[in-house]
């Protein structure tokens, strides 16, 4: 369910890092919690994102949800397909419906994020609440 090559945040974002570029999205758990996604707002190429701070918004029919960046960096791409077709986030949150790509300021930042196994243990706890 949760790809081993991704790292995860407590706010239910994932990041896949290739060299100095990180691809960021929201997790399967997050899309399920949100329900039908109808609106996605993302930063522009060249914008800076800050670790732990909101870089965009995902709205379902019933709720507004901020998306938090796992890392510091500069946006190199914002997925135009997911902005035009927000429902993609429900169908393929770990794949086609990635949100942004960023050039990482410091690759070491990702060391504090959760592995797939750690994230799965974390959401089991969340569900037990």
């Amino acid at each position: 369910m949760y790809p081993q090559e991704f790292l995860y945040t407590k706010e239910h974002e994932w990041i896949r890092v290739d060299e100095s570029i990180g691809t960021i999205g929201i997790t399967e758990y997050a899309q399920k919690e949100l329900g039908d996604v109808v609106f996605v707002e993302l930063p522009k190429v060249g914008d800076h994102v800050t670790a732990g701070e909101s870089f965009g918004t995902v709205e379902s029919v019933k709720a507004v949800s901020e998306i938090y960046s796992p890392v510091n960096g500069e946006v190199t791409a914002a997925n135009p397909k997911v902005q035009a077709n927000p429902e993609m986030l429900n169908a393929d949150p770990h794949g086609e419906a990635w949100l942004i790509r960023v050039r990482l300021s410091d690759r070491r930042e990702i060391e504090s994020l959760m592995s797939a196994d750690e994230y799965e243990a974390y959401i089991r706890q969340e569900k037990a609440h």
Binding site: G35, D36, V38, F39, T57, E59, S60, V61, K62, V64
Partner: protein, 369 residues
């Protein structure tokens, strides 16, 4: 599950059935209720194009009985109860002295001296206490909420589905009328009412056989595309139909005229609580007016967002959402009357940005007969 105050939530007789069906359960008005099953979008579209079944047992039921029942109801409600015939229902409001609503409700006349009120879940205790306090007429008032399961079967296929499991003559049952009927073998009250903007029925019956009735209705409706629907879809459906929701469009500070509910006010037919201020407002105008808007740029308005005219905040969004059937972002808001005309360009402040929107005619959605 408990609320933040640690108070136990009330559960309907169908709680286990909802869990088994994979519903997401949330707190609503002191109850643990299904907000969605397969997804709000799918459930909303099912009700618009086929049918949906809602458990609305959280709604309260009050009975008013006795020779003085009519006099009490004429005093506490805004609409003219004397116009009802046996087994006819009426949309109305329980009133506060300034002309605002204690709650909105449906008054059903069982007999000239016997009425059955359906009220909002979160307001049931408050409504009951208010009616009792106003009862100088010595009518008998009872809160019978726990004696009823209430199901709402809504959608263009609702009548055809229900016909398979009821002995009631549905073609003779007109909008806002009701009858005693058996559905799935269980006796109850069957009303042609609803909160979705579609044709549909609400069935009130004793909770004992709730699960069987629920399952048999779903089974009977399966070939017609019936699915269970939650409070999430109920909210987006009522918003498209521009029906008010207490706590959003209605509260103790908003007059019925401001809420476009002049049509349920018997201003020229006897005294009732709040009549004086309403008559005055009819002559002198109100300080705010409920309007509908649709976003003309990307963005979704949500409850509490500011309405801007020329960059200045003039009002507040009371309900806002993406509308699944209309496929646009819509909302209801209060603005001063001078800014209320249809076609006016406004802005909604969404996360610090002024996003353009336009006032439109209500309702947003009206079914074709």
């Amino acid at each position: 599950m408990a609320t933040s105050e640690g108070v136990e939530l009330k559960r309907t007789a169908l709680n286990a059935a909802h869990r088994a069906a994979g519903a997401r359960l949330v707190e609503f008005g002191g109850w643990e209720m299904p907000v969605e099953y397969s997804g709000i979008m799918q459930e909303h579209l099912a009700v618009r194009t086929r049918a949906g079944l809602f458990d609305v047992s959280h709604m309260g039921e009050l009975e008013v009985q006795g020779p003085e029942a009519l006099a009490l109801l004429q005093w506490v409600t805004s609409n003219d109860v004397s116009r009802l015939k046996d087994f006819q229902a009426q949309y109305s409001a329980l009133m506060y002295p300034p002309g605002s609503a204690v709650d909105d409700c449906i008054v059903h006349r069982m007999a000239a001296d016997h009425y059955f009120l359906c009220v909002n879940a979160a307001n049931t205790d408050k409504d009951f206490a208010w009616i009792v306090q106003q009862n100088t007429f010595e009518a008998e008032v009872r809160n019978v909420s726990s004696a009823y399961t209430q199901l709402a079967l809504q959608g263009p296929q609702a009548a055809e589905i229900l016909a398979r499991v009821t002995d009631a003559g549905l073609s003779a049952l007109r909008y806002y009328w009701f009858c005693r009927a058996k559905c799935c073998g269980v006796e109850g009250l069957l009303a042609r009412t609803g909160y979705t903007g579609e044709d549909g029925f609400e069935f009130y019956f004793a909770p004992a056989e709730s699960e069987r009735v629920w399952n048999e209705l779903l089974e009977a409706g399966k070939p017609k595309g019936l699915i269970p629907a939650g409070l999430g879809a109920r909210n987006t459906l009522r918003l498209e139909a521009a029906y008010p929701l207490y706590g959003h469009e209605l509260d103790e500070e908003t007059s019925l005229l401001e809420a476009n509910l002049g049509w349920i006010c018997k201003l020229d037919n006897g005294e009732f609580i709040g009549r004086g201020p309403l008559v005055e407002q009819r002559q002198q105008g109100t300080r705010k007016k409920l309007v509908g808007f649709e976003m003309t740029a990307r963005g979704i308005a949500r409850d509490g967002y500011s309405v801007l005219v020329d960059g200045k905040a003039v009002g507040r969004v009371t309900s806002g959402s993406y509308a699944p059937y209309l496929k646009k972002s819509i909302g209801l808001a209060y603005v001063p009357p001078e800014h209320a005309e249809v076609g006016r360009e406004i802005q909604i402040e969404i996360r610090g940005k002024a996003v353009p929107a336009r006032l439109v005619l209500l309702p947003f959605y009206k079914r074709s007969k």
